[in-house]
């Protein structure tokens, strides 16, 4: 279903670049063409179309120009042209985001700079366990390059086959292994960034410790392209685990799930890579829409955990450790049943259940997506309060919660009543958002744990942040992008 489309914020430039098309051609298009050449730009509306739309939402952008620089130098020169002419820029990577951060607005007020042609692996240093890549390298390529050298690049998410690392870093992507390895931010040793004035900041240091001044790279990670364009990164690699074990466990409630998580951490330490919580309906709906998905357990239960652990060493002792933690959970009443995958195929089957939940949900009618986080200790209360509040207001609404329990990051995505009118239910979205996000805020949480603000949440953010915090964000934006040229109308509602 479509997400809300917030109105353009007051501060966003509204002048169409094509109002004076001769001037645009003279001042922007031709200088850019001279920098990147014919291969480095698109002006044809059909050719640009795939970059104008998001894969999940119904936003559609419209720009007079897409630039695809082949190098940092080209990209910097293009940004310098934009800075000189006051031309707003939407930076775009793989265009797989879920918040509209990488789509232009629909009014020809911006140009797109895509990193898709900047896709070199620049270097890999096996003694330092770092890899240096262009921003446009696809995440999966980095994973595979690392794996071929016996290393792990642990960032992993659904879009990994097409998302680009520059976008992953600009949105501080999370994914299913963040519990153990942290979000994208934790995996960055150094960055190269083109600043809004077209200068290049070379912060591509492959260091794990560097306290020589402000840690400037932190500014650009998660900034959604509003402070500059990440053009390259030096990323940390980890030892590739040699053994892994996967379990599908039944539990009575989010509270018992949290209790077992606590026990599991004490027994399994940092070997836990994945700890996904799902309610029964997620399993039912995943199975309903995908014949390849099966419930591995004989009986039905209300809640499930999908757990993966990984480590160096042999397979058997690792499985034994997971089994011991499972049995301790059964003994203490935190778990009700479960199975540990006996083969790679069985492990894949378990993962498929979790992966099938979002797709199944999409086919069930209107649903309300929330990418929230609360302290892990508050997850049971959050789900209970949100379920109760929504059921009272919207009788028949079907709860649908799954997510990364270990991070307190729940994709709380309730679905319309069975058989209800989809359009009617879609119209409830703003009120559902408000109810859910108010509860999240009261419990000390965040209304976007991993997807970011983009356009989707831009008008909700000020409700949940203090005036001080909003002003600090605006100050930072003005400090680095005083012309408000970098991805205007994203992340901050009234920048510029």
């Amino acid at each position: 279903m479509p997400d809300t489309i917030p109105a353009p914020p007051a501060g966003r430039p509204r002048r169409s670049l094509t109002t004076d098309s001769a001037r645009f051609a003279r001042e922007v298009l031709e200088p850019v063409r001279a920098i990147v050449g014919e291969r480095g730009l698109l002006t044809d509306r059909d050719a640009m179309q795939p970059l104008m739309v998001a894969w999940r939402d119904n936003w559609e952008g419209r720009v007079p120009l897409v630039v695809m620089p082949a190098s940092t130098e080209e990209l910097a020169a293009v940004v310098a042209v934009c800075a000189r002419t006051g031309t707003p820029i939407v930076p775009q990577g793989g265009n797989t985001g879920l918040t509209g951060a990488s789509q232009p607005h629909g009014d020809d007020t911006e140009i797109v700079i895509s990193t898709r042609r900047m896709n070199r692996i620049r270097a890999i240093d096996l003694d330092n366990d770092t890899i240096t890549v262009d921003a446009g390298v696809v995440l999966q390529t980095i994973q595979e390059t690392a794996r071929a050298q016996g290393r792990l690049f642990p960032l992993s998410l659904g879009a990994e086959g097409s998302c680009q690392i520059g976008g992953n870093l600009s949105t501080n992507a999370g994914g299913v292994q963040a519990l153990r390895y942290g979000t994208a931010r934790a995996l960055v040793a150094g960055l190269e960034v083109v600043l809004p004035d077209g200068r290049v900041w070379d912060g591509l240091r492959g260091l794990r410790k560097d306290n020589a001044g402000y840690d400037l790279k932190q500014l650009f990670i998660g900034a959604e392209g509003t402070l500059g364009i990440i053009t390259a990164a030096t990323l940390k690699l980890l030892p590739l685990p040699t053994a892994s074990a996967t379990a599908f466990l039944a539990t009575a409630s989010p509270a018992t799930a949290v209790a077992w998580l606590r026990r599991a951490k004490a027994l399994l330490g940092e070997s836990i890579t994945t700890m996904e919580l799902m309610e029964r309906r997620c399993v039912d709906i995943a199975m309903r829409h995908n014949g390849a998905i099966r419930d591995p357990l004989a009986d039905r239960h209300d809640w499930y955990l999908m757990v993966e652990i990984a480590d160096q060493g042999e397979q058997a002792p690792l499985e034994a450790r997971l089994l011991a933690a499972f049995e301790a959970g059964l003994e203490n009443g935190e778990l009700l049943d479960g199975t540990i995958a006996a083969s790679a195929e069985q492990a894949a089957g378990i993962r498929r259940i979790r992966e099938g939940a979002p797709e199944g949900q999409r086919l069930e009618g209107a649903s309300y997506k929330h990418d929230v986080s609360v302290p892990v200790s508050q997850v049971p209360r959050f789900i209970a309060e949100a379920d109760a509040a929504l059921a009272a207001r919207f009788p028949g609404i079907r709860s649908f919660a799954f997510g990364h329990l270990g991070d307190g990051n729940i994709h709380y995505n309730p679905i319309q009543a069975e058989g209800g009118d989809k359009d009617l239910w879609q119209s409830f979205l703003p009120e559902v958002n408000l109810i859910v996000h108010d509860i999240v805020a009261r419990l000390g949480g965040s209304i976007t744990a991993e997807h970011g603000i983009g356009r989707l949440r831009i008008n909700e953010v000020p409700r949940y942040k203090s005036a001080v915090e909003m002003e600090m964000m605006r100050r930072l934006k003005r400090c680095f992008d005083p012309q408000n040229l970098m991805n205007p109308g994203k992340l901050l509602p009234d920048a510029g």
Copy 2:
């Protein structure tokens, strides 16, 4: 030996606050007294003296007032007085830093705000694995509070019995376990900060994932108190390992040490908490000055590694894993000899060697301390080039390198020639720094890996950072502290 004392930077305020002492009393002292009460301030020079000096260096500050607020509200109100009156502030925690960042200048131009009375543990959340503490809580208190609950707070360093967490975060402290757990930055979930205008930013969120806007806490971590005063933090706790193993291993050179580190990471994964490199002279000098230190190996070797691994589970399998990695190193010629501690006492004995190196060095005459990092792959080259360059320029100089090999963080601290004139050798310091730091920079390193800039390195930093980077740092400073009131003359040579 004393480190260099850089001249006050051009931009630092030079007006003594006591020139017009009646005005200072009326506009600053009395309003502050009204906020914090008699117990919350010091004006007596003798009483203030311990806060004016650094424990290792010979800097000595002089201020007319030390304020010790009891709460964030008091501290914020004091900062507001300073903002209104243009009074520069030196924030101070445990005063254990090594760069002069927490000492005032010696000319009565600043006041000190100490967090020593802000020492409450505010909350601990065991399901969320977080602890919320005032900035003035001593690091060891946090470690012990966590341990009592079966949790690990992994930040660990020599000064842990007196340093305060606010200072640890403001300097992004590293320590001996950073290889596994990261520096202080990696352990922060949320911060509370008093901004230079006296407003409080409440960013005390206990979340592991939060992509709702710029990650503002990153600005203040490692900023050395130049952008605001950290008043509280929510910190991440980890599972407490239940087993650990310690080894003292002999190796031929830094290059063989790096080769074995690579093998050890493949075999032991993230269980490696400590990987300290030492040259033979460190062992000799540690033993010479501390009778309790013994060489655990029968033969002399040129280089050593002190290794610790830790994990959940039983002791015996963990020791077996370390033994297997040791034996693999012997077989492949990366290691020459070694011993694995068979008891806690033996492990303590091994740690004592490493801990004895800095103290032994101090007693050997003039030495030249460098807290540098390079990519791990460049450590052998760095040590070889620096040794050669110094030996050529200063015949008889004794190499003395130890440090955190796993992070590429080497404390490269050569010592004067045996029996040479100490004053003469001390006078070589600037040239030694230049030679060493130029090599570090050429190899892509940092001139301060963990200690920070403070006053010690303030005039060296611009040589090793690009003009773009220096300007970005200045911009950030001006953006958040336009009056240059927060710890002026630290970190940035020409702020304000």
